[in-house]
Symmetry: C2
């Protein structure tokens, strides 16, 4: 296999290119086979690179793009009005084979719209989905969709299940257990879409469908892939992040109440901080778009340097796992 090349939208996100360039350079050092293409305002990016010493420029290109898509811009505007945006140019690099993946911390809606337009969906896929790895009591589960598709029919949920299963396999899970998120585990529970999707999944050959999972079952690690519509998934993900932050804040208060607890807290806090990062998966690890003819990873808009590194790392694993080709083959069998 040739060396992996990943195109980075250096201008997306809440903090501009600084974190992104720093994370990119760190990834180049950590993975000696990796090549990166930083896309955006070249003079600005070059200046940020020049601050760092020992950069291996043979594995790092900078490609200029004159425009930037704002975090609040409408997807339709981004699609039609900005042909030379950093996001668009990075995706074009994937489409024309100069890179195998694109990572962006920019506007989610614009990234989804541009990805669909530039890369196209895989045959048989109506709508791409967003997936992220959620920590559970037993490891991780792939949760999808996380907000790309607000209203979903049973057929969409079925496709998400197939895509999530293949993605989990590419990440090393053997015969991933696939479940539908529901408000009960009995057959009569749930809305029409979920019930209908269950009957489709029961009949799917080669898929390890295990039935319904509830919100608490997800965190108990009852499934490797948990499927829901984008409205539910987005609210589950963000409320989990909010709850994890709240618990961290409360623990900090617990540990600052008196001298003894402060001493205890000083010992415990670094461990708790690591836990907190683990519990904010999309913020920390990024979310992957599934169902496209190419790899796109969305890093959180306010991701730290470490968070953006994790997003690049996820893209790298998907490149090495040949995810779109695998998906294409599996969808051919199942859809």
């Amino acid at each position: 296999m040739s060396a992996p090349i990943i195109a980075i939208d250096a201008m997306g996100g809440d903090f501009g290119p600084r974190n992104i360039v720093q994370a990119s350079l760190a990834c180049l050092i950590a993975t000696p086979s990796l090549h990166l293409i930083l896309v955006g305002q070249a003079p600005l990016i070059e200046e940020l690179i020049a601050r760092q010493s020992g950069v291996d420029r043979s594995r790092l290109r900078v490609v200029n793009a004159s425009e930037v898509i704002g975090m609040d811009e409408k997807p339709s505007q981004a699609l039609r009005g900005k042909p030379d945006s950093s996001m668009r140019v990075a995706l074009d690099l994937v489409a024309n084979g100069q890179a195998q993946a694109c990572v962006s911390a920019g506007n989610t809606g614009a990234l989804m719209a541009l990805s669909r337009f530039v890369l196209k969906t895989l045959p048989g896929i109506d709508r791409p989905a967003m997936v992220a790895a959620i920590p559970t009591q037993r490891g991780y589960c792939q949760l999808l969709d996380l907000g790309a598709n607000v209203d979903c029919g049973a057929e969409n949920l079925y496709q998400f299940a197939v895509m999530g299963s293949v993605a989990a396999e590419a990440l090393g899970v053997v015969r991933p257990k696939v479940a539908l998120l529901n408000i009960g585990t009995e057959d009569i529970k749930g809305n029409q879409q979920v019930k209908l999707a269950a009957s489709l999944l029961q009949a799917a050959p080669g898929l390890n469908y295990t039935g319904f999972v509830e919100g608490d079952g997800l965190y108990r690690g009852e499934a490797d892939v948990v499927v829901c519509d984008g409205f539910v998934g987005n609210i589950l993900l963000k409320s989990s992040e909010g709850l994890a932050s709240m618990i961290s804040a409360r623990i900090e208060i617990l540990f600052s109440q008196n001298l003894l607890s402060r001493a205890v807290g000083a010992l415990a806090l670094p461990l708790l901080k690591r836990l907190q990062a683990d519990l904010a998966p999309a913020r920390h690890n990024g979310a992957s778009f599934l169902g496209l003819q190419g790899i796109v990873v969305k890093s959180h808009g306010s991701a730290s340097v470490q968070g953006f590194q994790s997003a690049i790392h996820r893209a790298l694993i998907e490149v090495e796992g040949n995810l779109p080709q695998r998906l294409h083959g599996r969808l051919g069998e199942l859809l």
Copy 2:
């Protein structure tokens, strides 16, 4: 005001009447004005009461009911097949004015169906909703619906918002901030029902509607009342409980890794346990049915003695706050 009288379904829940009787006796001691009616298999209940000394029997009645509704029984079965169930008899006591509220840890679907049948909904209310107080960074928010209504139209969400607002007022919140749960805060975000409900709420006189709130905003305490359909609410609630349990488990592991951390953990664990109880609101505090011509509080099926006590306490506050009458008045103005 006359002394509050609450009917207790002593047979519901996963653990039988023992926890429930114990919690009831503790509440009688804690609230000297409170009267309770324990409903269920009288000999069994009397035996459990007899184990405790100093019980004020002038404030405690036992009413016999020969049948028990199973936790897995279908609501339709419970409705038609068991006229002398403890749940039904407890609700009848509310309907005929012998009690002002009913508390049950039994089958949720059966309790909702029986409550609607026995107590009827308030004029203008299509469907009752389940609400619970969720801890936030600023205090609590009332989240509804928690699973009674899987598919909801805009009109239902509007009614939930009105009911949640009145419930929050009855619990002491002045001009409660009411928000719709959504996957973004911009007007264009969300599904049709949510967008339409937003326009209804913007036009509602006297309601402090503040717009959309996201999953993380809920835990930041951006609203006092958060409204969603029962599918989303149930998944949010259960996933939050699952996440809180997982974090507790991980913290326990952190604190058991070596001698120092074990010492630290021994100090921190009681505090963390209290936090955990606070983070499992429905399990701990119970959920209230809103929109009925009477007060019904559902305690979690696996509630501890303390958890069932909290459910009785919530019922007591709603009795003292005259919640159904207040709701009736407010709905007359708004619907």
